[in-house]
Structure formats: structure tokens, C-alpha cells
């Protein structure tokens, strides 16, 4: 439906009102064609969203526009004029600024030093620094972009670091600002602030391109949205004339259920009982300050909270990665929190499976193959042993093939290195590894971070299926939507404590937001 109403309307736009026009851009990396004959028009003074699943080619397209890659074919027009962009320097000269998903900042430089890097006035730094200090003060006033110019980047929060990236672009007189997945690392409040900044920039006549895979952001802030799928531009529509459902379908190529359908929970006996759990980090700072909670069989307990309030430590100590003090009982048996059985292997033997938050560091070894990764943590299982000395790799591969088929991991090749799978497929591999062992308790952190929309639906279904099979699930996520739709009970963490418990049926985002901000629990319902 929306697919056929693409380009036609676009041709009507007058050329001088266009900030950017791309015509027939193609780019291949070896055998993979990341961009196929892409044409797009971006109106001056608008916020233009580009949405698509991971690997759809959004970032590649924008990297071409920023001169980071060179297109194999196609033309770029800036302000109606043909403008070749062979390198970043040309893009900067053409008035394009880019805020990458992974910030390009020098961690131990000050904000000022980062801003002037590459845009210095002369051979000596002092005059450049003085000029930038004044310019930053002006920009801060104009756009709510306050940052301490003398602070070191490593001391700044992620939200502030992102502001520095925006400041860098504006200091270079950028008229066109490209933001690649800007909210992936932000708290809800920081994301709101970012959107206010972007709206302010639009009012000043700047053109903004926003790359994201989050439908909500597209609906909230963009004027126009282009959808990419498998390297191609499948549609460009006015945001006001579309819906999240339509966009999701355009992205994935099939109907997607955005709401999670679930049966009411039937909680059984208590599986996990945590009492007065405390954890200190390596600097001796207390990160968990006495946590009490229970998770019952057939129940999902969702832990909400702004990242960094102790959720990671909670998962790590329960998963046996970090050590702590207090009492944790699994099925009535006390777990070892600081002795020699406080490790991941022991926890797995006791029936706790763990899908860690940071999948690329704690969940897999990126250079190892899929089947090797599927073995981790379960490599001592009897069915993987050929004899006392050797592992049965063929059995492992066969098992991995079965798992990949059941979990629809693509491409279904178990000898491929983990890094060659998309984020969603990596996560499916890990979830398959942990869930298929039929644990009593599943710890799962940020299950859908960096995962595309089709895989999100699948992973959510798997978590619910585990719950319906009578298992206990402890879910940690910074995505409130995810917590609200999956959880049977919600606990909100702030500063190493649980601020309160809520029933997802009777709470709302505002209520949870207050708890997440550390406002004391006045309702007091547990």
C-alpha cells in the first residue's frame, strides 16, 4: 500500500527548497550490496527520519553523505547543486555535520579541545580556544546546549557527550545535521531534551536527518520519513499521514505485532528470594544497598530504572559474575555469593540462565563461530562429550543447527563467526542457548537492545513462552515500553535500591518515571 505511493509525490518539490537530494546511490562491500540505487529528497528546514531494521543500509547511506565512504554510483546534490563528497572535509565544507552512533570524541580532551579539533583557526591553539569558548556560550544560549567547556569528555554523561557532538557540528557552521541512532544510549529524560534541541534547530532553519529504528521517535519528531529495507528505499511518506503499524510493515516487509499478546500470569511457588543483597564495586562504592525481592514460578518481574542505578550489578551478582553480601535463595537453597561457588558455571548448574546486558562483551566471543558460542557455559554437558578427553563438536554443531532453525537465526550457518550476525540474530543465538536448557530462573538484561523490530517480537514471545511453561523470569530493561508490556510485576530501581513495586495494569509511565527519578514511593503498594 504505502510502497506504491513513494517517489511520485516527491518529484513535485521545488529544487531550491531541497537541502539534500541523493540520486541513484549504490554501495557494495564485497559481495554485500549495502545500498541499491537509492534516491531521496530532504526538504530544507525539516526533520527527516530514516527508519529501517539493523543492516538495512541506513548508516551506510549517511556515511556516504558525510564522505566517510565513497559511493560506487550516484550523485549528491546539496542545496540544488551537484556536490561530490569524496571525504569528510568536503562534507563539512558543504555544511553537513554528523553525530555518529558511537561518538567520535577524544575521551581525555576537554569539551573545547574536542570542538576545535580539525577546525582550528591557526597553528597555535590559544586563539582558537578563546573563539570556541565564546561560540559555545552563544550556541548554549540559543539551543539549550549547555556543557561545561572545560570538562573532560570522560567525566561527562552520555547525554552531555552527545551535546558536544552536536556542538562540534554547529561550530563548523553545519546547516544539515545527521544523527545516527541518537537515543540508543540516552535516558528518557535525556532523549526528551535532545528532541527539544532538535526542534529548536529546525526553527532556526536547520535541516535534520534522524536515523533510527524506533517507531515512537519517528512519530514524535519527524516531518517526513523514509523507510529502508535490505539496502533499498521502500517508501517516503509524510509522518502525519502514516502510522507506526504501517511503518513497521514497510520496515520488515510483513505485518508485525507491536503490542505483546499475553495470557494472565499464573504465579506458583517462590523460585528466587533475595534478601538484603548488597554489592560494592571495585572502588568500594556500594552499588546495591539492600535489595529485597522475590520472583515466583510462572511470573516475569520487570526491573525498570535509568541505566546505572544498580540493575547491572543485580544481574551480575545473581548470575555469578560479581560478588555480594546478603541472602539469595533459589528454590529454597542458599546461593554462594562470595565464595568459590559464586561463578557463572555454578549458577547454571543450579538452574539459573543468564542473558547478559552487554551481549558483545559478556554474552559471546565475537570472533568465535556460532556453534562455539552456543557451547559456552554448557560445554561440560554430557551430550557434548565424545569421551573423557574430547568434545563432540559434531553433536554441538548439530544441536546448534537445530537451535538456529527453531529460533529462525539468519543466516542459518552455524560455522559463521558471531560478529557476522546482526544484533538481533546474535541475541537470538544467546537466548536460544540459555532458554533451551530449561532453567528454573532466567535472568535477562536489555533483551532487545540493538535488536531489529522483527526479532524483538520473536524474543518477547520466547520470554513469555518460558514464563507460561512455569519458569521464573527476571527482566531488566531501560525500555519502559518493554517493561510495561512483558512484566507481570514491576520493580523500579534507583540508586541501588528498589523504590517500589507496581502492577503494570494499574500504573503508567508518569508514575514509573517518578520512581525512576528517585521520588519516594507514596503509594507504597508491594
Amino acid at each position: 500500500m504505502a510502497a506504491e505511493r513513494q517517489q511520485g509525490r516527491q518529484a513535485a518539490a521545488a529544487p531550491d527548497s531541497l537541502a539534500i537530494e541523493l540520486r541513484g546511490i549504490s554501495k557494495s562491500f564485497g559481495p554485500v550490496q549495502a545500498n541499491k540505487d537509492i534516491s531521496i529528497q530532504v526538504r530544507r528546514g525539516s526533520i527527516h527520519g530514516i527508519i529501517g531494521e539493523n543492516g538495512a543500509g541506513k548508516s551506510t547511506l549517511m556515511s556516504i553523505l558525510y564522505g566517510f565512504y565513497r559511493a560506487d554510483a550516484g550523485e549528491i546534490y546539496i542545496g540544488g547543486r551537484l556536490t561530490p563528497i569524496p571525504d569528510s572535509q568536503s562534507a563539512i565544507r558543504a555544511g553537513i555535520g554528523m553525530v555518529f552512533q558511537h561518538f567520535k570524541l577524544v575521551q581525555n580532551f576537554t569539551v573545547l579541545e574536542n570542538v576545535i579539533l580539525g577546525a582550528e583557526e591557526g597553528r597555535l591553539l590559544r586563539p582558537s580556544l578563546a573563539k570556541a569558548r565564546k561560540a559555545l556560550a552563544d550556541l548554549a544560549r540559543e539551543y539549550e546546549l549547555e556543557v561545561d567547556p572545560d570538562a573532560r569528555i570522560e567525566d561527562l554523561s552520555v547525554g552531555h557527550q552527545q551535546r558536544v557532538e552536536i556542538l562540534k557540528a554547529l561550530y563548523r557552521q553545519a546547516d544539515i545535521l545527521i544523527l545516527d541512532e541518537p537515543t540508543g544510549v540516552l535516558t528518557p529524560a535525556e532523549a526528551d531534551h535532545l528532541f527539544r534541541i532538535l526542534k529548536g534547530l529546525r526553527e532556526q532553519g536547520k535541516t535534520i536527518i534522524l536515523i533510527t529504528h524506533k517507531l515512537r521517535e519517528i512519530m514524535e519528531i519527524t516531518d517526513t520519513v523514509s523507510v529502508m529495507r535490505r539496502g533499498q528505499m521502500t517508501a517516503t511518506v509524510q509522518t502525519a499521514e502514516t502510522s507506526p503499524e504501517e511503518l513497521a510493515e514497510l520496515m520488515v516487509g510483513r505485518k508485525v505485532l507491536l503490542r505483546v499478546d499475553k495470557a494472565p500470569a499464573i504465579p506458583g511457588r517462590t523460585v528466587l528470594k533475595v534478601e538484603n543483597l548488597r554489592v560494592r564495586d571495585e572502588n568500594g562504592v556500594e552499588r546495591l544497598k539492600g535489595i529485597d525481592l522475590t520472583v515466583r514460578a510462572g511470573e516475569i518481574l520487570g526491573i525498570a530504572g535509568v541505566a546505572g542505578n544498580g540493575q547491572s550489578e543485580l544481574l551480575e551478582v545473581l548470575g555469578g559474575i560479581a560478588r555480594g553480601a546478603g541472602s539469595v535463595q533459589l528454590n529454597g537453597v542458599e546461593l554462594d555469593l562470595s565464595g568459590k561457588h559464586s561463578d557463572g558455571q555454578s549458577r547454571r548448574l543450579q538452574g539459573i540462565a543468564h542473558v547478559p546486558e552487554d551481549r558483545q562483551h559478556l554474552g559471546m566471543i565475537m570472533d568465535f563461530t556460532a556453534w562455539e558460542n552456543v557451547a559456552f557455559g554448557y560445554h561440560n554437558e554430557p551430550e557434548y562429550q565424545k569421551n573423557a578427553l574430547l568434545m563432540d563438536n559434531e553433536a554441538l554443531r548439530e544441536d546448534t543447527r537445530r537451535k538456529m532453525e527453531r529460533f529462525d537465526v539468519r543466516p542459518p550457518d552455524c560455522t559463521l563467526a558471531a560478529k557476522n550476525f546482526s544484533g538481533g540474530n546474535q541475541q537470538k543465538l544467546i537466548v536460544a542457548r540459555e532458554i533451551e536448557r530449561n532453567p528454573d530462573l532466567l535472568l535477562i538484561g536489555q533483551p532487545t537492545r540493538g535488536v531489529d523490530i522483527g526479532a524483538i517480537e520473536f524474543i518477547h514471545k520466547q520470554i513469555l513462552a518460558l514464563r507460561d511453561a512455569g519458569k521464573a523470569v527476571l527482566l531488566v530493561s531501560v525500555e519502559l515500553d518493554e517493561i510495561m508490556s512483558l512484566s507481570d510485576r514491576i520493580a523500579v530501581m534507583f540508586d541501588g535500591r528498589i523504590m517500589g513495586f507496581r502492577d503494570p495494569a494499574t500504573t503508567d509511565e508518569r508514575d514509573l518515571g517518578l520512581l525512576m527519578a528517585g521520588v519516594d514511593d507514596v503509594k507504597g503498594a508491594a
Binding site: 577524544v106 581525555n108 582550528e120
Partner: protein, 321 residues
């Protein structure tokens, strides 16, 4: 211990610390730009050999220095080509340079001079003479200040003063200029420099070239200032000691001065006191001579507190999203 003895030890501290200082600053520029360089040793050795050879043939020490710099730059070019252009492993490239220099100097030395790998002794204008600073003679008889000025500050060869001047110059270049900002940025996060529209490769080659010039000076000083000619393996691990000093100095120029002079001091002590008698217990000479190396091991084992190396050090830069 009287003033004269102290001054003599400090004087030889400066002389022995100078090649370390030059090599340490050389490593500083390279590593601050993200290129690890364990080939300092080889570069110094090549420079020492070629400077001695050129100084002997031409009879002019400054031509010798130029030849030494040329030799070290050549080695730097190999390292740059391997680790920047071809994104090879920087440690392996550095090791290769050390082997190359160690073999090539002896081979060429034997071929040219047939003295078993050494160069003939340098005399006259072919080696550096001490410079007597202005007013040193006149002040000589003034108590305390006179000897300090005359013994310690005056009377070194030209390269010593060059080396010391390099410290504020390096600090200024690194922290006050555009080039320094970009160089430090390239060693921390090359992607930031690349996206800012500046060539990562260009900056890194510039840094490696500076490293070549400074190791060239260090090597030339060894052969034409500290000694009078080239001897097989005459660097004796100074390149590695300079690397240890660099870590000790936390990759900062002024700290580098302190760190290298500490090593120079240890070497000076071990040269002066052969066997130290501590009321019955005799510390053998071998222990004293091993002191700088022991300190190196202690420093490298991390006993001097946390030193954070440049974050992108050792990593070839490959564009990625």
C-alpha cells in the same frame, strides 16, 4: 661525600641520561600518535653506526649527526610503512627493526672498516667537544655556584643542550599547537580526527618522522658524544630503558626529563662505585650495573602507580561506522 663528588656524579647523570631523554621523547611522539615503537633501540643503533661512519669518513661531526638522523628516519619509514600504511602489527615491525639494525650495523661495519663491526676511533672534529658556556671560567672560583655552573651546567657537548631544549619544545608543540592537539587526538581516538576531516595517516607519519629525528640524535650522541666511535650493540638496551622511562613519565615531556635522569643517575652511580661496602655486606658490582635494568622491570611490572597509555596505541586505524 664532598661537593665535587656529588657534582661529578650528577654531571655523568646528565651525560648518561641524555641519550635516554632523546629516545624517550622520540617514543613519546610516536606513542602519543598511537604508534607503539619498540624499535627505538634499533633506530638508535643504526643512527649510532651511520653517524660514526660518516663522521669518520668526512671528519665532520655534524655531517655524522645528519647521517645518523638519516639512518633513523629510514628505519622510521619502514616502521611507518608497515604499521600505518599496511596496518601491520607494530610490535612485530619494531622487533624486526631491532634485528635489522643489530645485524646490518655489524655487517656494514665489517665490510667498510674491517674492524670486527666497529668503526675506527673518532678524533678531533669528528666527535663532539665539550662546550664551555659563557662566563664559566670566570665564575669557576666562586664558592658553590662556581663549581655547579662550571662542572654541572657548562662543559657538555652540543647534543646535551639540544636534548634538554627538546623538553620544553616538545611540551609546547604537544600542548600549545594545532599539530600537537591533532597528534594527541590521533593516539586517543583516530576516528575523531578522521571525521573532523584531518588525515590520520598524515599525522601519524609526521609523528613517526619526529621519532626518527630524535632517535637519530640519540644514536649520534652515543657514538660521537658519549663515546668516540661505534661499537657493536653499543645501545645496550637503552631503547628499552627509554620505553620504561616513557611509561614512568606517563607519556609527558617534563616527566620524561625526570624519569630518564633517574635512570642516568643509577647508571652514573654504578659506574662510579664498583663495590659498595655497607659495614660488612659488600654489594657486588654486578648488582650496581644491573640497577637500571632492575628498575625497568619494576616499572614495567606496574609498581609505580597507574599509567594510562594512549587509548588507540598499537591499533592500526581502519575506518568503520
Amino acid at each position: 661525600m664532598d661537593l665535587t663528588t656529588v657534582l661529578q656524579i650528577l654531571d655523568s647523570t646528565i651525560r648518561l641520561g641524555t641519550p635516554l631523554l632523546l629516545a624517550c621523547l622520540a617514543g613519546l611522539f610516536s606513542e602519543r600518535a598511537g604508534i607503539f615503537d619498540i624499535g627505538l633501540e634499533g633506530k638508535m643503533l643504526a643512527a649510532a653506526f651511520l653517524s660514526a661512519a660518516a663522521a669518520f669518513v668526512t671528519g665532520d661531526v655534524w655531517l655524522g649527526v645528519a647521517a645518523g638522523i638519516f639512518a633513523a628516519l629510514l628505519m622510521s619509514a619502514i616502521h611507518g610503512l608497515a604499521s600505518i600504511t599496511f596496518r601491520g602489527n607494530q610490535l612485530i615491525s619494531g622487533v624486526a627493526i631491532n634485528f635489522l639494525a643489530s645485524g646490518l650495523t655489524v655487517l656494514l661495519g665489517q665490510y667498510w672498516f674491517a674492524l670486527g663491526g666497529r668503526t675506527p676511533s673518532l678524533t678531533g672534529d669528528a666527535r663532539f667537544a665539550p662546550i664551555t658556556l659563557w662566563g664559566a671560567e670566570a665564575l669557576r672560583e666562586v664558592p658553590v655556584i662556581g663549581p655547579i655552573y662550571y662542572e654541572l651546567i657548562s662543559g657538555h657537548t652540543a647534543l646535551v643542550y639540544v636534548a634538554v631544549a627538546m623538553v620544553p619544545l616538545s611540551a609546547w608543540l604537544l600542548y600549545r599547537t594545532r599539530f600537537g592537539l591533532r597528534l594527541r587526538a590521533v593516539g586517543e581516538n583516530p576516528a575523531a580526527v578522521d571525521t573532523a576531516g584531518v588525515s590520520v595517516v598524515g599525522i601519524r607519519f609526521a609523528a613517526v618522522a619526529i621519532c626518527g629525528v630524535l632517535t637519530g640524535l640519540a644514536g649520534a650522541y652515543l657514538a660521537t658524544g658519549l663515546s668516540a666511535g661505534f661499537v657493536k650493540e653499543m645501545t645496550a638496551g637503552r631503547g628499552y630503558i627509554a620505553l620504561a622511562a616513557l611509561i614512568f613519565a606517563k607519556w609527558r615531556p617534563w616527566y620524561a626529563l625526570g624519569a630518564t635522569m633517574l635512570f642516568g643517575f643509577l647508571e652514573a652511580i654504578s659506574n662510579r662505585y664498583q663495590n659498595i661496602d655497607l659495614g660488612g655486606i659488600v654489594i657486588p658490582v654486578q648488582f650496581m650495573q644491573a640497577l637500571p635494568y632492575i628498575l625497568t622491570v619494576v616499572i614495567l611490572a606496574g609498581f609505580v602507580g597507574k599509567a594510562t597509555p594512549p587509548r588507540a596505541g598499537g591499533e592500526p586505524y581502519v575506518k568503520e561506522r
